[in-house]
Subunit: 430 residues, 2 copies
């Protein structure tokens, strides 16, 4: 039997307790997979007296998590505290600087500071691993970093936030309003009391920035991600989407284009028979397109104690075995600058919904606005006619530049017959 890998766990919330549970449950079998025993030697969490349902007998308790970084009886720190800065960042920096490996589930931290932390890891011959930071139990980091390493990745599309996917799935199935379904999701524990981080797309954007870096060999560029959430998705748009042969999903999209890398999170219309449209409820999925492998898709639970702990422990096993893959697949010195292109230069088809009072000349005005910006209409739908009352008019347009689309909608919004802000949803032919 070789030397055990000595693990210090920082944070004993859902994921931390789950990680202890995995290691306690499968310890004996994991010796064979890891090539050596995996031993929890130290932990740190807020309240020592709290019962977390896991056995921590014989484990050193540190009130200050930073103490794990200097504990000589710790080889690897599992940072399961969370937050892009503060204690989580301090701990990871200190641990890596001390030559200890770091495994983290912290997407915000990696999205904001991943490249710098990876440099610190390299300098100190330590590993930085973060499989659990993206898409829970799905081994998507490993797939991009290793499994697809032979490819030039051209694009990836992800359902990266289970809360949003739960809400959109539920809206589509029940026809109910966003607020109504969000309330229910909160009651069921699928959405936080303050849900903005999820529903405004920030959480998905963290994950997308990480995936994009791995896919394209670029420095993590969270600031370059264009982010829109799902607050404005309405049942009427879901209904029209279905009529046009689409479903609505919040996607993280990263694409290689001639102008640079697109990184964006926003509601998308996807073809109704696209595999990603079949991903329902709290499940996550990532579709990756590579030049040799073509399209591969990965699905599973994106959150929860078990799936996230599964990913944390997979990273621990890799490190125990002596795996030394760079955090972003290539040495940090080989990472290219992100070269994210601005959203204005995005080009693609769009869905547009206007609320229009049916009066003479209204269509002429809309058509002129489209034509002024060289936007070419693909189809138009009008449902219902109520003289004097606003009715929805829905269009899809062929490949258009985002900047032109925005100007067109500005013009249309100025027409007297158009009430409410025009809504636009990008169509993504995944």
């Amino acid at each position: 039997m070789t030397t055990p890998l000595k693990i210090g766990i920082a944070g004993l919330g859902t994921v931390g307790a789950g990680t202890v549970d995995v290691l306690n449950t499968h310890g004996t079998q994991l010796i064979h997979r890891a090539g050596r025993p995996l031993e929890i030697t130290a932990v740190s969490a807020r309240d020592k007296s709290k019962d977390r349902g896991v056995d921590l007998s014989g484990v050193t308790w540190h009130d200050d998590p930073i103490a794990l970084a200097s504990d000589p009886n710790v080889d690897l720190v599992a940072e399961l505290i969370g937050g892009s800065d503060g204690i989580a960042k301090d701990l990871c920096e200190a641990a890596l600087a001390a030559g200890k490996h770091v495994v983290t589930a912290n997407k915000a931290l990696i999205a904001h500071h991943g490249t710098v932390l990876a440099e610190t890891a390299e300098t100190n011959s330590a590993c930085l691993a973060y499989e659990a930071a993206v898409a829970g139990g799905i081994p998507i980091i490993k797939a991009l970093r290793e499994g697809l390493a032979a490819n030039r990745i051209d694009s990836l599309y992800g359902i990266l936030n289970g809360t949003c996917n739960y809400i959109l799935t539920n809206m589509a199935e029940s026809g109910r309003e966003f607020e109504d379904v969000l309330d229910e999701a909160q009651q069921l524990g699928y959405a936080e009391a303050d849900p903005s981080f999820d529903i405004d797309g920030v959480d998905a954007a963290h994950k997308l920035a990480i995936l994009a870096s791995l896919a394209f060999g670029t420095a993590v560029d969270f600031g370059g991600v264009h982010v829109e959430g799902i607050r404005h998705v309405s049942p009427i748009d879901i209904e029209f989407a279905a009529e046009l042969g689409y479903g609505i999903k919040l996607l993280g999209v990263a694409r290689r284009t001639d102008a640079g890398i697109e990184q964006r999170v926003h509601p998308c219309m996807v073809p109704v028979d696209a595999p990603i449209n079949h991903v329902r409820g709290v499940f996550n999925a990532v579709e990756v397109v590579g030049d040799f492998v073509d399209r591969t898709i990965y699905q599973g639970r994106g959150a929860g104690a078990g799936p996230t702990a599964s990913a944390v422990v997979a990273d621990i096993i890799d490190i125990a075995r002596g795996g030394r893959v760079p955090a972003f697949g290539v040495p940090t010195a080989a990472l290219k600058p992100a070269a994210t292109v601005a959203m204005e230069s995005h080009q693609g088809p769009y869905y547009v919904r206007l609320m229009v009072v049916d009066e003479p000349g209204v269509f002429a005005g809309i058509a002129a606005s489209l034509s002024d910006h060289s936007v070419s209409m693909e189809s138009v739908l009008q449902r219902g006619r109520a003289p004097g009352e606003p009715v929805p008019v829905v269009m899809t347009v062929h490949d258009t530049k985002e900047a032109d689309m925005v100007k067109t909608l500005d013009d249309i919004a100025g027409l007297s017959a158009v009430v409410e802000t025009p809504r636009m949803i990008r169509i993504e032919m995944v």
Copy 2:
């Protein structure tokens, strides 16, 4: 720049030429991912003069592939010849015995001799890698061996043969007969001139045996796989399946049961909204259920030059980086005997179709046969009535032991009103 990894390629068919293509196309970027240059130093194939559209200038040619095993200028042999025995096996044995790493796309070889080859690799401190042997470009070997290593795997379900999935998808969409669609698949190059290896389930069984070994930490037991192909699937069964809320797929299933490990390949009815039922055409998919991670699903192209070469080169990169994960995830000494249970002890729901001449007492006879073997009916459908002519009668039955189901169908086949052999398809609640 560190020492190059020197690669000898055996076989320059579709996959071999594809592998050369990947290495030639992405050589420069792969240095960063592999941590060192990947250099093709030697090749061996049947016909030196044949133009394969790849540049092999400066590469040593060996007429005899076995010579790669003793070429001092080769660190790693990529065995892309194929076949469970003969030259492919001799080469892999010789290369591993000489301490050279082996990367192979050969599912038959690994299914038949994987455990012994892994032992030889271990003894000689060499790696044996075979990502390309299962599901083409999908990194499913890596997912099971590393990404899900924290879990006890409970079951896996795979669409492992693109030819069969193409045929079944096409039959479902067109309503055409098996032979008809097979002919077309052969013309389109999706099925071989002699298609039996694919359509009789042997190819899927090779892959399933490999996945089961990885999933359960058991020695590869190809002989223990129960195998049925798709020749008997008829349009009428596909139609009834749809009516009952199912699709028909050829699945490889490996399941942990109280009695032991089930390994089986056969047509299955799966719920129409199950993710695996949406996998169409030549695509492959594998669904894995682990105790902590729950369900994860992997999809992609299961064959073809690009996807297979993507997997071959991913293995080469892992080895170049110094990754030393055991071939089956644990040392061979830790692999348990397979303990595959016989198909007779399988238990599950079934679909049964009889062709019955509608005469008095026929249902009483069928009901008696079911009751004699304690088989409990869930639903029954009869379509059409033509006095004196056989009509289909379709039943689904609740969880039943395979042995009882077989005896029941034997009894039913003996009833005078039952013409044709009763057909049975297992229902799998994936």
